[in-house]
């Protein structure tokens, strides 16, 4: 799999580290609701379609990225900086 880093251009996936599902929203840290935290930690929808993921270009420019990837075909439709994604409210 090739990920096109916005800085570095197309690079092999082994230069990157997967950092998890980017579609989750962390509950309010003050919350003590067990079901909410349980859902945040364990529930994954695992859709056989386009999905958003955090990746780190650790073997490169060290930028955190959000990759939109179709899990069934590995086709990547977009790669953006995680900071921009977060500042845009996760969209």
């Amino acid at each position: 799999m090739i990920i096109k880093c916005p800085y570095c251009g197309p690079r092999d996936v082994i230069e990157f580290t997967y950092q998890g599902d980017a579609t989750r929203t962390r509950p309010n840290p003050a919350s003590t609701d067990q079901d909410t935290w349980n859902a945040y930690v364990y529930d994954r929808s695992n859709p056989a379609k386009s999905h958003r993921e955090f990746w780190l270009h650790g073997g490169g420019c060290r930028q955190h990225l959000v990759v939109t990837r179709d899990i069934s075909t590995h086709i990547i439709s977009s790669v953006v900086y995680a900071r921009d994604y977060i500042h845009a409210g996760g969209k």
């Binding site: 570095c8 251009g9 690079r11 082994i14 650790g58 490169g60 420019c61 930028q63």
Partner: protein
Amino acid sequence: MVEVSRATRLHPLQAGHSGILSVSVTLAENATRISLRAREDAIPALSKALDLTLPTKPKSTASNGARSALWIGPDEWLIIDGIESSVAEDLRKAKVLHSAVDISHRNVGINVSGKGADAVVNGGCPQDLSLSAFPIGAASRTVLGKIEIVLWRLAENEFRVECWRSFSNYAYAFLQESARDVAA
């Protein structure tokens, strides 16, 4: 008739026997190295202090004499200079926010040179090392096998691999084995 093909058995410690290979894997001279981190607005002042223009594009480098600056990330450079270097003092003169850490002893440099040096590096590094994608003077942080390296192309058939000190045995043996594979 049954034909039996046998793989040539090589001694695991034979990697150092590189006499017959077209690509040599040798240790680079000791060097002064600085890990420089700074934001974009500090680049002009740091460039002035270093007496070279800090590169701002991926895979690019800039040199002045023995001193070179390698672009590593949007706010990160690896400065490599001769063993006798005033680079730390020079950077101290730049009165802009930056971080300059002496990593001379953290890194080890390994030279890979000779015809097919690109194939030897590609034995463990996924980057496109064609001259159009990785020209002479290009440099990048990347991976070699299971370790992180900084790769720098000094000539068409000459690369410098910078790795962390504790990974140097691995990198050295890996590159020698790859040189043997490329020769075979």
